[in-house]
Symmetry: C2
Subunit: 191 residues, 2 copies
Amino acid sequence: MTDTAPTVRRSDATRAAILRAARERFAADGYDRATIRAIAADARIDPSMVMRYYGSKEGLFAAAAEFDLRLPDLAAVPVERVGETLVRHFLDRWEGDERMAALLRTATTNPSAADRMRSIFADQLAATVADVVPDRAEAPWRAGLVAGQMLGLALTRYVLRLAPVVEIEPAELVGWLAPTIQRYLRGTGPG
Amino acid sequence: MTDTAPTVRRSDATRAAILRAARERFAADGYDRATIRAIAADARIDPSMVMRYYGSKEGLFAAAAEFDLRLPDLAAVPVERVGETLVRHFLDRWEGDERMAALLRTATTNPSAADRMRSIFADQLAATVADVVPDRAEAPWRAGLVAGQMLGLALTRYVLRLAPVVEIEPAELVGWLAPTIQRYLRGTGPG
DNA sequence: TATGTTTGCCAACGGCTGTTGACATCGACG
DNA sequence: CGTCGATGTCAACAGCCGTTGGCAAACATA
């Protein structure tokens, strides 16, 4: 019994090594400063292999920074705990994964990465949040406020690495941010 | 009556033109993608003039992105309004000034800009905040939480330009964020 | 064994970058 | 006038970048 489709190629190990090195470099240095040559050196292969397997630097980044929030279904959680659920979910998703840092470092200067960021946080998040917001028409800007708080956390903790923010335990972080998110989602606002 | 010191040089106009062009380019493109040649072209002078007047690209950026938060003295405002005061101050300071975007776009990839950001938000802010926090020892991490929220706003509004966040009026933004900052500064926290 | 494909390395290309030094021009001053 | 410093232009350097095409070795298939 032989495989009819090449489900496993001999080069899969190389592809994986490139991807791993690319994630580290993009996360640490951002898109522009992470060079194909450096990534190839980390993966111990020739730069031309990167081109063969991923087409271009943009293609490599797209593969390395692919990122789905995998947002939970908020309709399934008690409405007074949606804030806590969301904060905990983001932290679970980000801790120990370098892709968020890579995406954030790149999105500040690379237009296509910024677009991806916008579609993730303005569209995906707004759609998820719409189920739990008092008025569905308010979903966009409520999601925007949530994105501001959560991306600010990601920025200070994973990218800028402000010492006091890095040192706070995840559980404590949830305790402080959850009420904020809860209010942005459900609060009646100023006035 | 002649000036003994050259208080006004004939090249001041050029220096100013370079600085203005540099601020725009750095804010729009970030440090790496903003080239000296492009800045010089905007300022309608030769790239070598940039080197003569600012020494290097790093020196130019240091001059163009110099930024002081000019934080208010929080001890002088009613303690129940420190959050609102702080949020309003940040917005006043950032709206219509491109330096924050330039600094933010650069700090994500340039180590020295990241250092500047850290010193501004971890040190300056923590020092200001210490006057108003329940326990001075808590100033660092409380300032960290505040930095997270405020930098997240700057990121989504001035850098990523998430449409819903851009469209919110400053006054309304103050209304939503002030309670958050107030709690990060004065709240008793989770538990 | 012979043949075709996959995997990898090597050398090079064209382009853009920050930076430098030589040279022209202008204004002020003796 | 002549001198000198300030201001500005021009051309070039050396280095790094993404990307390309050719060629060798390993492998699969017959």
